[in-house]
């Protein structure tokens, strides 16, 4: 029990530690693809450090929501991080929770972030909150449907159990149901992490922003928390995809060797996903806001096809 908890905490800590790194890798890759040198892999850590040194300016119109939102946001993601198997799938963490809780924890964070966006009264924040909630609403069923397919295939919604089962059964991705579900979930991940072609994470410009707009009023330490949270969320989703659909190499016990293999495999998988995302960002232009639901609808139908495929094949 204690060991299980410990493993969980270690895994979560690992996620928190490497989350900015993954963001850095994506930035670097993008820069390289655009023939720039780009910032260092570790620039996100430096940014966070910098925010930590600054005073923060708080709007006088705000309420306690504004101040507490970063911590609620981060806490929700941290708890979500505790649910996701990273390098080891062992330990039936029955008590902790499942994919539904995972998705809803993300929703909890988003809820307060969106409120915080409205709190300062600026039109930018309101617009961002509004768009974020709208896109998230469409993304949520598209995210859950592929996960349901997995859950039905394995007979449980518990993440650890799903990953464990999939890891045991080998090349699961080759089934059409899984393939379709994977593609569906991948599209959702792009939307959820605020990446091109859904959102542009590099700009505060009015016409493109969603996530960044909500952070507009933040500065100093709270901004650091929020940025860290966003990175963590991105990594969480990558981890989810990686371990659900490619559980290869994940540790099935507590052996040192297994864990080392698992760690390496995990890092490789996550980096690979990061690089793929960077490629996609470089290849596509940002979509118009109201084209995004069409994309997500497409992903939803892929997920539905996956579900049907699960029962047919």
């Amino acid at each position: 029990m204690i060991r299980v908890l410990l493993i969980n905490f270690v895994q979560a800590a690992l996620l928190v530690v490497i989350a900015p790194l993954v963001a850095g890798i994506i930035k670097k890759t993008k820069a390289r693809l655009q023939m720039r040198r780009g910032p260092s892999f570790f620039q996100p850590y430096l940014d966070l450090y910098k925010y930590g040194q600054k005073e923060s300016v708080v709007s006088e119109h705000t309420s306690w929501i504004f101040k507490s939102a970063p911590y609620i946001y981060f806490a929700a993601l941290l708890v979500a991080a505790l649910l996701v198997p990273v390098i080891s799938s062992v330990g039936k963490l029955n008590f902790s929770g499942d994919i539904i809780l995972f998705i809803y924890l993300l929703a909890l964070g988003r809820f307060f972030l969106a409120l915080a966006g409205l709190d300062a009264g600026s039109a930018f924040g309101g617009m961002a909150s509004s768009r974020e909630m709208a896109i998230a609403a469409v993304a949520e069923p598209a995210a859950l449907l592929p996960l349901f397919t997995l859950a039905i295939a394995t007979g449980t919604t518990n993440l650890t159990a799903i990953v464990f089962k999939n890891a045991m059964s080998g090349l699961v991705l080759l089934k059409p149901a899984y393939l379709l579900s994977f593609i569906a979930l991948f599209i959702v991940t792009i939307a959820e992490t605020g990446r091109i072609p859904v959102d542009n994470p590099d700009t505060h410009l009015e016409l493109t922003m969603m996530h960044e707009g909500m952070l507009l009023e933040y500065s100093g330490k709270p901004l650091a928390v929020l940025t860290m949270g966003a990175d963590l969320k991105q990594l969480l989703l990558f981890t989810l995809i990686a371990n659900l659909f490619f559980p290869w190499g994940i540790a099935i016990g507590f052996g040192v060797g297994q864990i080392v293999v698992g760690l390496v495999a995990y890092l490789l998988k996550v980096c690979a996903i990061g690089i793929i995302i960077a490629c996609i960002e470089s290849l596509f232009a940002k979509m118009r806001l109201f084209k995004v639901p069409d994309l997500l609808l497409g992903s939803f139908f892929l997920g539905l096809l996956g579900l049907i495929a699960k029962f047919i094949f």
Binding site: E55, N94, A107, G121, G126, A137, T156, T157
Partner: protein, 678 residues
């Protein structure tokens, strides 16, 4: 203990009657009248609560018969576990609302007749608790109609407003038509049972011909569905709930429409003993549609109470989802899973009663303080009304089904039961329908989260948009206590949901023969049995503790790392100009992306008018008008109403005033009768 139950029941109902009548008699002394009514109501509700809990926990059913009869049918009251649960829910919410009302109704003194309000209010609760406890169909119907009529009178309490009258009319007619279907079902049952007592119904319910059962099912589904406000029978709900005084809206939305769920469960599970799979599938489909359309329409409302009313439509849909899943699962032999689904449904009944009651009370408080229900005129209320704001936030988070609040637990259970439907190995249709309904539920709750970000954010955050909002003051203490009780329950039930699961154990035992408590885990975790052997679990206790810890850790880490962290207060950055409330994002604007995304459903119409002083550069005035097409009214209700009116007017020509014509009728009747009826 049986005697105790009787005392509690009579005490509760008697006190309500007495309090109502006294309040009416003393209507000239408004303050006294008000205090009597609501004090009586709250004490009575405590009694009701005691009765419900006593039956659920101690397992002593209440059975009593009054010494006279109604339409030749004995007046009996029976309270078993199912009834006790619904009485508990009703009494709980009504208790909080009654306390709240003491403060809320103060603003009516001198303006409205408080004695009448007190009478109707008490009668309303009287009817609700009575009908749940009633042991015969006649009595049920009697109290059901009483409840409808009293609530109608409450809806039209502010009858000088023509919209209120309109709303009241729609409500009373639709609810009456719904009742008609229930009556038909009762009468059909009577044909087989030979009496109107529910006990008699239960005796024959399972052995009736399948066709009759199907008809009865459809009748009750339509009849109770109207009251529950499921789509497409919902149109009265968003009109009537906002029209009533807010404390009454809270009871209507929180409690009254649950009586319809009670009726459905009673009929389907207790009396008819479930039926073919399509019953459940029908409820699943209707439930999904209600949930989705309900939440979508709610997003387009700027009247906070109309918004909440549409949300009720949504939540009724969610409740039906659980029920439908339970029916299908039970039918296919997965009784333990059916128990989970039914539990999800009933848990959501309780949750919705709590947070929707709270939300309406919150809306009432805001209305009390600002004098408006239009969210576009509010803003900045969290700083002016911190308690109300907090309570509203708690309710919003709960209804958006976010952990660690109670709404999440019931939706989680619903998700699980829908997934169980997918894994239960029926046919392909069911297997896909279950997860698909789950996806629909996900969409619903995400949309509802968006809706409540909007509702809370626009109302309580940023700058006030009107002088009413600017000068708002926190509401009186009694109103805060009333809201506080409900608000405290939201996290409590979210953290230790097993309390409720334990309470519900006898209910599922009666309905499905399954003891839910062992099936569904313990205080530490909830677990779902599944066919595969893996247990899916959720530790409702752990999640909030982890959340709290994580938040605390994050806070501490951030606080002590780095030398920054000092805080400076300044104006919101607004591109260099001063921020005025007019620049804030409005509720309409907030919903715009969704209006665009779902335009095939909303069919929005917009009209922008611009007047120029010098074309095309200097605009004198610009006005924007946007509305969505009320599809159900336009496609379903208005044509039918119009048809009735047109036909009625056509037929009215028969009475043209000509005596010759009248004589002709007689002449024709006579000749026809002579020829045909000889």
């Amino acid at each position: 203990m049986v005697a105790l139950n009787e005392y509690l029941f009579f005490g509760c109902e008697g006190l309500l009657l007495l309090g109502g009548l006294l309040s009416f008699v003393l209507q000239t002394k408004a303050k006294l009248s008000m205090v009597i009514a609501f004090a009586a109501a709250s004490i009575a509700c405590l009694g009701g609560l005691g009765l419900g809990l006593n039956v659920l926990l101690a397992g002593n059913n209440l059975n009593l018969t009054l010494p006279w009869s109604l339409a030749s049918s004995a007046i009996t009251f029976t309270v078993g576990p199912l009834e006790a649960f619904f009485i508990t829910v009703s009494a709980l919410v009504c208790f909080a609302v009654s306390i709240y009302s003491v403060g809320y109704v103060q603003s009516y003194i001198g303006k409205h007749n408080v004695g009448v309000l007190g009478l109707l209010y008490c009668l309303f609760i009287f009817a609700i608790i009575g009908l749940i406890a009633s042991g015969s169909a006649v009595l049920f119907l009697f109290l059901w109609e009483l409840m409808s009529i009293v609530s109608y009178l409450l809806v039209v309490y502010h009858h000088r407003d023509s919209q209120v009258r309109q709303a009241g009319f729609t409500y009373v007619v639709m609810t009456h038509i719904g009742t008609m279907f229930i009556v038909l079902a009762f009468l059909l049952m009577y044909v087989y049972a030979g009496s109107f007592s529910f006990a008699g119904y239960i005796l024959v319910g399972r052995s009736m011909p399948a066709a009759v059962k199907n008809i009865i099912f459809l009748l009750v589904a339509i009849g109770f569905g109207t009251k529950a406000g499921i789509i497409p029978l919902h149109v009265w709900l968003p009109k009537a709930h906002p029209a009533a005084p807010s404390n009454v809206s809270a009871i209507m939305s929180g409690v009254m429409i649950k009586t319809a769920i009670f009726g459905l469960i009673k009929f389907i599970f207790v009396i008819l003993g479930n039926g073919p799979a399509w019953w459940g599938i029908l409820l699943l489909v209707i439930g999904s549609a209600s949930a989705l359309l309900g939440v979508l329409y709610s997003l387009m409302e700027t009247d906070i109470k109309r918004f909440l009313a549409y949300c009720s439509v949504e939540n009724m849909g969610v409740i039906l989802l659980g029920m439908g899943a339970a029916m299908v699962l039970a039918r296919n032999g997965f009784v333990a899973l059916a128990a989970v689904a039914l539990m999800a449904s009933m848990f959501h009944v309780l949750n919705h009663a709590i947070f929707k009651g709270l939300l309406f009370l919150g809306a009432g408080s805001v209305n009390f303080a600002t004098g408006t229900r239009n969210i576009e005129k509010m803003g900045g209320l969290l700083r002016r009304m911190p308690w109300t704001g907090l309570f509203f936030l708690v309710a919003s988070v709960s209804i958006a089904a976010l952990p660690p609040f109670n709404g999440f637990i019931s939706e989680w259970l619903t998700f699980q039961s829908l997934l169980a439907l997918g894994a239960s190995g029926g046919n392909l249709f069911l297997e896909v329908l279950g997860p698909l309904a789950g996806a629909g539920l996900a969409l619903t709750s995400a949309l509802s989260a968006a809706g409540f970000v909007r509702a809370f954010g626009i109302q309580f955050l940023a700058l006030p948009r009107s002088s009413g909002a600017k000068n708002a003051k926190e509401v009186p203490i009694s109103m805060r206590i009333g809201m506080g009780i409900l608000a405290a329950l939201c996290p409590l039930l979210g953290v230790v949901p097993f309390i409720i699961i334990k309470l519900l154990a006898p209910v599922t035992a009666v309905l499905l023969g399954v003891h839910t408590a062992p099936v569904l885990g313990n205080y530490f975790r909830l677990s779902i049995p599944s066919g595969v052997g893996q247990h899916t679990a959720l530790s409702a206790l752990l999640v909030p503790s982890l959340l709290g810890m994580a938040g605390l850790v994050a806070y501490l880490v951030v606080k002590y790392i780095g030398k920054g962290g000092s805080v400076r207060y300044a104006e919101t950055w607004n591109c260099g100009t001063t921020l005025t409330p007019r620049m804030e994002y409005t509720g309409t604007a907030f919903a715009k992306p969704l209006r665009m995304i779902f335009r095939q459903i909303f069919l929005p119409e917009r009209e922008v008018k611009t007047e120029y002083t010098v074309e095309p550069y200097f605009k004198a005035e610009m006005s924007y008008e946007g509305k969505i097409k009320p599809v159900f009214e336009d496609v379903l209700y208005r044509p039918v109403t119009r048809l009735f009116v047109v036909v009625a007017n056509k037929i009215r020509v028969l009475q043209s005033g000509s005596i010759h014509l009248y004589l002709l009728y007689m002449f024709a009747t006579l000749v026809l009768l002579l020829i045909f009826a000889r």
